[in-house]
Structure formats: C-alpha cells, structure tokens
Symmetry: C2
Subunit: 507 residues, 2 copies
C-alpha cells in the first residue's frame, strides 16, 4: 500500500487496515447527513458487526481525521457522540476504547463485511401468516376516461370553501385544545351539525350521542365487524353484495350466508327461512340502492326486515352509501328512521358527496353501541382529523354541502340520461341494463359471448378504465355484469367512453 509509510500509521492503524477500513469509513461530503454522524454511524456498525471488539483501542481523532481527510473537530464530535451513547469509553492518558461492557460479537466473514450495508430487508426475519382474503386489486385512477364503480366528480366539489374552512379551523381558537387529543367519537361540532342534518334530511331521530364519526363507510364496517362479530358468527349478505363489506365480515371470522336478491332488493322471505334454521348475527343491506345491482328495497320488505331483526335479534347494518343521489322521487327514508328498538347501525359518508379522498363518514346507532365502538376506535387510530371534521361541520351549517348536493343531483341525473341514451344507441346489441333510479353507476350485463375481462383489458389500452366485474362474483344473475359509473364524467367524456367501448365491441 502506498500510504503505509505515512507517520500516522501506528500499530492499531495497521491492524485496522487489515480490514478494508478506509473504505468502510469513507465519508460522503455531498450527503445531507452531517459527516460526523456518518463517521459515528459507521463506527457503530463496525462495533455491532464485531469488526471492532469490546476493549479494542481506537485510532486517535487526529489520525482518523487525516486518514479521512476531514477536520479533526468532526472526528472529535463523532467520538463524543459514541462516548455519550456508551459505545466507547475513554481512559485518561491512554486513549479511547470500544466499551468493555459491550457483548462479544463474532466478526462476520469478510465477504459480507466488504459489501455495502444492505437496505432495509425485503423480507421479514420473523414468521407471519398472509391473509389471502385481503388481497384485492386496487382500482385504477390513472386513465383519462373512466366508468368507475360510481364515484362523484371531484371537479365539482366545493374545494375552495373547504380549503377556506380548513384554514379557519387551523388558525383560530385555543390552539392547545383544538390541536390536542379529542373525543374518539369525533369533533363535537360535526356530531352536532350531522345530527341536525341527518334528522332533517333522513328523518332520523338522533342526538350527537348516537353518532360516531368514522373515516368512511369502510371504517364503519371494520369497527362493527371487529367490535361486534366473533369467529363463527353468521352474517347475511345479498347474493351478490358489496365486496368491501364481505371482506370485512370474513376477516372477522364470520361465515357469509347469501340471501337472494331480485328487482325489489334482498328477499326477506328467504331471510326469514334462513333465520328459522340458524342464528344470524348481522344482516348487511344497502337498502337504498342495492350494491352492485342498484335496485331499491321495496317498502314491504323494509318493514319485514326491521321486524325480522327485532324477532331474531340480529344487527341490521344499513349501508346508505348513496342516499343523496336519487333521481325520481325523494329518496326512500332509511330503515334507521323507523328503528325504535336499537337494531340498526346506519352508516353513511361524504365519499359520494365530495370525493373518496375526504375520509369522513358516520355510524349511527344506540348510545351504548356508539360508546362501545368508540372505545375500539380509540386504539385503532385514536381519533379522526379534527380540523377536517370541523371544516365539514362548517360546510354543513352554512348549507354549502346541501347546495352542492342539489347542484350535483341535477348534473348527475343529466349524465345518467346521457349515458343511458348513448348505451341504448351505440351498445344495444352488446349490453343489457335498467336505467337506475339513483346512484352513480349503471349495473350493466354484457351479452354472453363477450369476454368482459378481456374487454376491460383492451379498453385500458385505449385509455378507458372500467372494472372487469370479477369482484362481484360469478353467480348466474350477475355474471358478465359490471358497474359503469357515469357521475365522474361530463357528457363529452361519456360520449368518448361509449365510443371506445363500441369500437372495441364491433371489432
């Protein structure tokens, strides 16, 4: 080695150089990490790996500084660091040593040591059991054209109002209280505003004590499943039903019991038969517009469903995901509005009102259940986003949400009409559908000869996304069907979507 005659090369240095020490301690002055931290970090690694053993004397700070071509103060700071943290110890007059209380380490093989230290592991060092039921494809958002599951058009959302309200919440009031920990049930402002809003718009009879603010319907489902279901419980769901809900019930260890669905929603007579034979813990229902087929639950079945719930004691989980978007008459009032026995857990969200990115929803139920689920929520994520919740409360109280609902109701009705008209005109040989009375998607069944997954795949190449429908399962009534969402696209965009579909189908 060239440098071996350099005066700083004491016995220890040579000893150290038997390891590729300079390389291992090389500093990167262009890094944003301070040099002294680089040095102390690397020395620590050498100690940990066993290259520097307990009791080993270190090269002096002056020597190391010269070797590494850095200022001596930098090395002093690195050594001080390690002294303070107990990696090194200093004996007056005789120098600095690797602390003797450190455990012995067998040095790793040189081949391993010379490698650049690996990134954080790709694989866990401990065992774990994967959960195949949780593996689901993510929806795609990066296509210019989309006929999605039924999402709103966030371009219409009152984002400026929201931003202003958020800013006000952030910057005014008692900072310590407002930005501290709060009630796991959610901001009291929002619970009050929401209670009034739900009572007015849905004829519920809530107080704020009946409301748990959640981060969207998914969290309502999760808390209910984790807090009220036990492994082995039976849960009644439509055949077919919302996959996100099914996944949650399965994850909680429940067995799904399928209830037939026809043009009036789930069959309550069949449910009655099922309940006679086995204990059902919970029935999941999207009474307003059945997911995925968009049909509304008929009045007699609504009554019967409530009655069965009281008779058999099952929880009625009412997912009212698109209550606000009904285009013919006024929306049917939720089952929850007629529940006087505390059987219904009513869940809604602002996902369809504003956008999926604003994770604010609500779970409505009896006071004791709300408290029970709030206790669980507290260990899940402590609480929601108080600032955003307060901002949303302001938009409700000032009527901005309500105005936005009226505006989008009108626009989405027009978009539904445009889309159904286009499908009838351009795709009549290929699809079957009923114009939905509400919601943001058309349940569309493709002719038996059409390979829906292949079609969805081809469409993506033309910059159009829609679900291949596999998520809805494969029962005869829903096979080759998928939801085509119209609300998030303007009329010209919908035209282009149908044009792409027509071109692909006519090929």
């Amino acid at each position: 080695m060239d440098t071996c005659n350099h005066p700083i090369f004491t016995k220890q240095v040579v000893q150290l150089l038997m390891l590729p020490f300079t390389a291992l301690l090389a500093v990167d002055k262009s890094s944003r990490q301070p040099v002294y931290l680089q040095i102390s970090g690397k020395l620590m690694e050498l100690i940990r790996e066993g290259s520097l053993q307990a009791g080993h004397q270190l090269i002096s700070t002056r020597q190391l500084a010269e070797l590494l071509n850095v200022h001596r103060k930098t090395v002093v700071r690195a050594y001080d660091e390690l002294l303070a943290q107990g990696w090194l110890e200093s004996h007056t007059g005789s120098g600095t040593f690797v602390a003797r209380h450190l455990p012995e380490t067998k040095p790793k093989k040189l081949s391993q040591k010379t490698e650049r230290l690996a990134d954080t592991a790709q694989k866990a060092g401990f065992s774990f059991t994967p959960a195949p039921h949780l593996e689901r494809e993510l929806p795609q958002y990066n296509y210019t054209f989309h006929l999605d599951d039924g999402f709103p058009d966030a371009r219409l959302a009152p984002l400026n109002d929201l931003s202003r309200a958020y800013r006000t919440q952030l910057l005014t009031g008692n900072t310590y209280q407002r930005l501290g920990y709060g009630d796991p049930r959610g901001s009291s402002l929002l619970r009050e505003a929401l209670s009034a809003y739900l009572n007015e718009s849905r004829a519920l009879k809530t107080t704020p004590e009946n409301i748990l603010i959640v981060r969207g319907t998914m969290m309502g489902l999760y808390l209910t499943s984790a807090g009220l279901l036990r492994p082995g419980d039976h849960v009644g769901v439509g055949e077919s039903s919302y996959a996100g809900a099914n996944t949650n019930f399965i994850h909680a260890g429940a067995t799904l019991v399928r209830i037939p669905v026809d043009e009036y929603g789930i069959s309550t007579d069949e449910l009655d038969q099922i309940c006679r034979k086995q204990t059902i813990r919970l029935v999941y229902v999207t009474s307003h517009h059945h997911h995925p087929t968009t049909v509304a639950l008929r009045a007699d079945r609504r009554m019967q469903l409530l009655r069965l719930s009281e008779k058999y004691g099952f929880i009625l989980f009412e997912d009212d995901y698109d209550y606000d978007y009904h285009y013919e008459n006024k929306p049917h009032l939720p089952l929850a509005s007629a529940d006087q026995a505390g059987m219904v857990l009513y869940c809604g969200s602002f996902t369809k009102t504003i956008s999926p990115a604003f994770r604010i929803g609500y779970l409505v139920g009896s006071e004791d259940i709300i408290r029970h689920l709030a206790e669980l929520r507290r260990i899940v994520d402590r609480q929601g986003d108080t600032m955003l919740e307060n901002a949303m409360a302001e938009l409700l109280q000032t009527g901005i949400i309500q105005r936005h609902l009226r505006k989008t109701l009108r626009l989405y009705r027009e978009r539904r009409d445009v889309f159904c008209h286009l499908m009838n005109k351009e795709l009549q040989d290929y699809v079957q559908f009923q114009e939905p009375e509400g919601g943001m998607a058309v349940w569309t069944r493709f002719a038996p000869g059409i390979n829906l997954p292949a079609l969805a795949q081809k469409a993506m190449k033309e910059d159009l996304y829609f679900s291949n429908g596999l998520i809805h399962g494969a029962s005869p009534k829903i096979s080759n069907g998928t939801r085509l969402g119209f609300a998030s696209s303007t009329a010209p965009e919908l035209e282009r979507c149908v044009e792409i579909l027509a071109d692909l189908l006519k090929k």
Copy 2:
C-alpha cells in the same frame, strides 16, 4: 268535538279521528324539514305501527290539506312520495289505499302511540360484550395550565405553512386522480420524502416500499397487533410501559410479559432468561426515551436486543415517539438503523413535532410486512388523508419541518431547564426526579406521604391539569410517579404551574 260537523268529515275521517290523528299528523312549519316530508314520514310511521292497516283507504288530499291547514299540493306531494315508494297504492276512481302487499301489523297500544316518537334508542336491541380493557379515561384539555403527558406546543407549529400547502394540494393537479382512492400504504409523495428524511436523520436505509403511512403511533400499534399477533401470544413490555401499547396487545389476545426496567432501559439479560423459558412473539421498546420513565436504552443493551430478536425470532417493535427531542448529544440512532435481518418494526409520528391533531405517522419494516399490514389497513379505513399527507411531504421537502424541529428543540430545552429549576427550588421537599436528556416530560415521583390522585384532583380546581399517574400502574418503582410535560407551556406558564403545585403541597 267541535270540528265534527265540518263538511270534510267523511266516514274515514271520523274513523281516523278515533285515533288522535290530527295530533299525530301535526306539522311543524318552523322546522327545516319540508312539510310534505313531515307528512309522508308520519303517515309511514302510522302504517308501520299498524294504525293504518294494509288496504285501508286514505282520506283525500283535499280533506287532509284542510285538516292540517297546508296547501293541497303539499299533501299531493306527500302521497306521491308514498305511492312511489310502495307504501300506498292508487285505484283510479276509488282513491288511495295503504298498499295491500304490506304485512299485517298488530296496532300498538294507544298509550304508546300518543307519545312523541322516541329518539334513537339509548340501548342496543341486540346483545354485545363490553370490552373493559378498552375503558380508559380521556386526557383533559380544557384547563388553562397543564403539565401533560409530554405534548408539543402547537402554538409554535408551522400552521400557516401547513394551511398553504394543504390548499395547494387541494386545488392543483388532476382532481380525479388526486381526490380519488389511492395506495393504502399512503401518498407516494410522502413515502418518498419520508424515506429520504428517515435515512438522513436516523441513518435508516429505507426505500418508499419499506414505509406504511399510518394515522399516528396508535395505528402502527393497532395494525401490528391485529395483523401479526394471535390470541395466546406472549408480548414483552417494560415494567412499566406505555399504556396505549399494552391495551393494543391485550386487545389482540396477547399475554403481557413484564421485563424489568432500570436506569439503562429494559433489562436484556432478563429478557434473555424469559426467552429461554417461553416463546415471545413481540417485544415493545421505547429505546430512545423509555415511557414513562424517560431513560435511554444503553448501547450494549441495544446490541443485545437486536441479537436476541434474531436468536429467538421475536418482532422488535421500536416506538420512537420522541426521537427528535434529545437535548444533550445527538439522539441515539434507532435500533432499526442496525437491523439487517428484518426483525424491527420502527414506528414514529408527527404527533410530537406538530400536534396530536395531525394524525400522521409511519411504520417502517421489511417490504413484505409493509404490504401485509397495508392490506389490513385497507379494510380498516381504506387509506389516510392524501391531501394532508401530500402537504406534509411538501413541508419535509422544503425543510420547514426540519427548521421547526431546530427551533422547538432549542425552546423545549429551555423550558425543561426552567421547569427542572423551578421544581428544585419550589418543590424539593415533595418530589424526586432526574432531569431528562430528552423528550417533553419529567418523570416525577412524589414523596410517599402525598396522595397523588387527590393532589391532581385539587389542582384541577385551580385550573391546572396533570395525570394522577394511575395509568402507569402500581409497581414499587413507579408508584406515586407521573409524567409532568413541560414542552407545551411557556416559562411564565410553567412558573404558574409550579406555584399552584407548591401552594397545594404546602397547605
């Protein structure tokens, strides 16, 4: 009755009046709920309750309008509503009837019917099992003076910057993509910014694939517990340890195994002994400043802990809740920085950096575990707040968070010094403590004769809040101790806090 001779009183009307019908249908014109919805809602209730049976003929719209003193169109709209929803049916020429397909209902007793319809039930109609381990007192935030668990001073937080960044995120870019559903692991912007930040500041070696954005440390603990623990597992925790973590492990069905803690942190020799005897699935450690006693884990124990984790295959959960606040030397690097075997789950948050209200934290681990926990997270609450995550990424990239950290580090050190000086001066006969090297709270033990819960109670009457310490358990080493947080109060505020305490103790 006065009104019985009125010409609109047909047979049906009289029949209806045998019920207290006018009272039951009374409308409230001052309500924000439209009158026609009030009428249809109440008619629906009468049908549901059995007061109006299937096949019953309804009074005409004109008659009902006169009776209720509302415009006829209002009643027509209410009837149309009920016709559309299947509650009523119309037979041309003969009038409007309660739909015959509705199930028969036994009318409730009159006494029940005349009562105002009850609010949403206070008690659930179905059974459920309370979870006593989740019942914990909420911290109090509504006192002028506070020596809390160790919270930051949100008055110093870069709220204007945050508000501006949030607004930018909200209003720019492709709305559909940005405000749609995203990656359950969190915003890619934040995962990239955070990966760089953690690598620089903590010598981790992450890529964004190693990072799961969570809503604070609590969610990191929850996902780990729910996703990796099974009932019957044994979890090692300090004696004592952070109560929020313990609750999560217990909720997942684990048994806590207590590891002794001394002035150098948890005893790894004792842990080794424990591991020889039984399988430990996870060890929870706050290596930087032990919670609650604030001591740092010594270097040799750090090494041994990693080695034990590899030897026995347990998960090492490193909760680095206050890494950024170390006042003496540079902070000790996290265990995670030396983990090459994928044993460590490293968890941090911005709770202490900005405020508890901003629920953004991160879980760092091997890629497979991060994917596994992200799948679970997807059914818990789908994803975080993309807008806030992106805003935080911007504050990290522009160095605003880092500047804020430097500023507050200086201020909190001053506050620690002021507070410890005041305690030494004013409370020396009553308390014992060691000046903490980092963090935001002083672990304070009160003299044996002092009734700490009673003292905390009295202090609240003087507008001062601090924890009565019961949450930390009752082992001899921690009894009569509590955490007194200094960071959220200015020097004059701290003076007042100590003054209140001194007055109460000297009484």
